[in-house]
């Protein structure tokens, strides 16, 4: 079998493509872009949540939040490694992010304005991420699919912890309950936008589906998320900010109202509330650390021929 034939037969059998297998250039490029974007999202996502570490309302919550942000850094690292199996380096990918050539999930371009936002992010953002990532555990590229299995486990913790934050708030004072509702009001639509454009407007979907990278359509995933989340909101006693939301007995799904795609594209193109700040924060950390990375390299070079005594 030639390389291309073997590639196709693996896809036909729903098997996994491994780094050493032959793969089309487009497949490689698509995966690099997607995995890198995913990795960048994990890392940029540390900022909105990190914003509340110092102010977490109890030491217990502070510890959980720190652990969560640490997990996200770990996910980033894990995903960059998966991308590296495709022949790019982490530094190259990070550089593309810093130069604005790579995107990350737009959801992180919204600010965290109250403690309830930390609950809403866990519940909705990690929740939406899980919906997408469960699908990706079945993706055809082995290293990516395995990374997803591991990451999904932690994301479900995050989701439960987020929901639990909100559950505590809705059972608290009127002020706390209002805080929870306000967070849902602000995060609901951006969370739905996480699944991307409608199927009809989704440019890369068809090829990704043929390559078994994408196993479900944007709209199907979004629907799954809505169906899962509406009852959870009801249990919290919170109102989803969608006047058109209604149960459809024929399809046994929740129908939702129109998404503001102008806002979606505005934020994707860089004009969201926090796009500039997120990237500046990230670049500043990287630039501030340049002397550290150089020094570590210089030290390693100087002591390359000596047995390691340090540590």
């Amino acid at each position: 079998m030639t390389g291309p034939e073997r590639f196709q037969s693996i896809l036909d059998e729903d098997g996994k493509i491994e780094p050493k297998d032959w793969m089309p250039d487009g497949y490689r490029k698509t995966l690099i872009r997607q995995i890198a974007q995913h990795a960048h999202s994990e890392v940029i996502g540390m900022q909105p949540e990190g914003n509340w570490i110092a102010r977490a309302p109890s030491l217990h919550r502070k510890a959980i939040l720190m652990a969560k942000v640490q997990d996200e850094a770990g996910h980033g690292l894990y995903l960059y490694s998966a991308a590296e199996t495709l022949g790019v380096s982490r530094d190259e990918l990070v550089d593309l992010l810093h130069r604005g050539k790579h995107k990350y999930s737009s959801i992180f371009n919204y600010p965290t304005l109250s403690w309830a936002d930390i609950g809403a992010i866990g519940w909705l953002v990690d929740g939406a991420a899980i919906t997408n990532q469960v699908m990706l555990t079945r993706c055809s590229y082995g290293p990516y699919s395995r990374a997803m299995v591991r990451i999904c486990k932690e994301e479900s913790f995050h989701q439960r912890q987020g929901y639990e934050i909100l559950l505590t708030l809705v059972n608290g004072t009127a002020e706390q309950k209002a805080m929870a509702q306000d967070a849902l009001d602000r995060w609901w639509w951006p969370a739905l936008m996480m699944f991307g454009p409608h199927d009809a407007d989704s440019t890369h979907s068809e090829q990704s589906t043929a390559w078994n990278i994408k196993r479900m359509s944007n709209d199907a995933l979004r629907q799954q998320f809505v169906d899962m989340t509406v009852p959870q909101a009801q249990y919290l006693g919170l109102e989803i900010p969608d006047p058109d939301l209604s149960w459809n007995a024929d399809t046994s799904h929740w129908d939702s109202g129109p998404i503001d795609w102008d806002e979606f594209w505005r934020v994707v193109k860089g004009d969201g509330p926090m796009n500039r700040e997120r990237l500046e924060h990230k670049r500043k950390a990287w630039d501030d650390g340049a002397w550290v990375r150089e020094a570590a390299e210089a030290y390693a070079a100087k002591h390359a021929d000596q047995p390691r005594r340090v540590a």
């Binding site: 102010r55 030491l59 652990a67 980033g76 650390g289 030290y299 002591h303």
Partner: protein
């Protein structure tokens, strides 16, 4: 010999809890600002470990009091003057050199402390120290390795490390001063005299500074006051931020 009051035990447990709490608060601010992703993870890990030990100590301190304050009451309900942490741990975050120098000098102290407190006559303290020393060993290894690599790295990293050492050094003397609480705690057997850790700390630190091709600052200036609640100005904003929710929503649970 006098009977040791619960107040002394409370004060002793609280001061070590405060050290942990305040340092973890400083470290928490650095997550997502590290030179590389691996170091974000390491800093978060260290902050979490230290916060964990701080919480155990504050919980225990609360149990020892008549008022039975919770860990959160103690962390969020006290004012500057009631915090008894060392000045070293509250020094504001600077560059990565500062972070690692502060961390290393403190890790070296805490590692010695926990290794002694595992023999505390107080079972709870001994138990917490037993958990803490497993972690502090790794913290020390981590910060020491950075001090050596950055000291002996490039000209710039060496300059920054020396500068950080000079700036932080004046806060190290306070770690080894015995006050009334320490003396009573040591006499009763549940605590150790800080002065008794000094030689081992000096040995550790001097060796590392040499390996790192740095020079040890002189001891002419020693800043004290943390144990008596006389802090630097920087702890005020730290507490204001940390305590914001507790004070804005009195009585709420989270």
């Amino acid at each position: 010999m006098t009977v040791i009051s619960r107040d002394t035990l409370f004060a002793y447990v609280l001061r070590h809890g405060d050290d942990c709490l305040i340092l973890s608060q400083r470290l928490g601010d650095l997550i997502s600002r590290a030179p590389e992703l691996e170091e974000d993870i390491a800093l978060a890990n260290i902050a979490l470990d230290i916060l964990g030990i701080g919480r155990l100590l504050l919980q225990y301190a609360g149990e020892l009091e008549a008022e039975e304050r919770s860990e959160d009451d103690l962390a969020f309900g006290r004012t500057e003057r009631e915090f008894t942490n060392l000045l070293l741990v509250e020094t504001p975050n600077g560059d990565f050199a500062h972070t690692m120098v502060r961390q290393y000098l403190f890790d070296a102290y805490q590692d010695l402390l926990w290794n002694r407190l595992v023999d505390s006559s107080d079972e709870t303290i001994a138990g917490i120290a037993g958990k803490a020393r497993k972690e502090s060993r790794y913290h020390l290894r981590h910060s020491r390795s950075w001090v050596v690599r950055l000291g002996d790295g490039t000209a710039e990293s060496n300059r920054r490390m020396q500068q950080a050492l000079e700036s932080v050094w004046r806060f190290t003397g306070e770690m080894f001063i015995d006050d009334e609480i320490d003396r009573a705690a040591a006499e009763a057997g549940f605590g150790v005299l800080p002065s008794s850790l000094s030689d081992a700390w000096n040995h550790e630190v001097t060796t590392t500074i040499e390996t790192a091709t740095l020079s040890r600052p002189d001891d002419s200036s020693i800043r004290t006051g943390g144990r008596d609640g006389r802090h630097s100005e920087s702890i005020g904003p730290l507490l204001a931020e940390m305590q914001h929710m507790y004070r804005s929503f009195p009585g709420a649970s989270w």
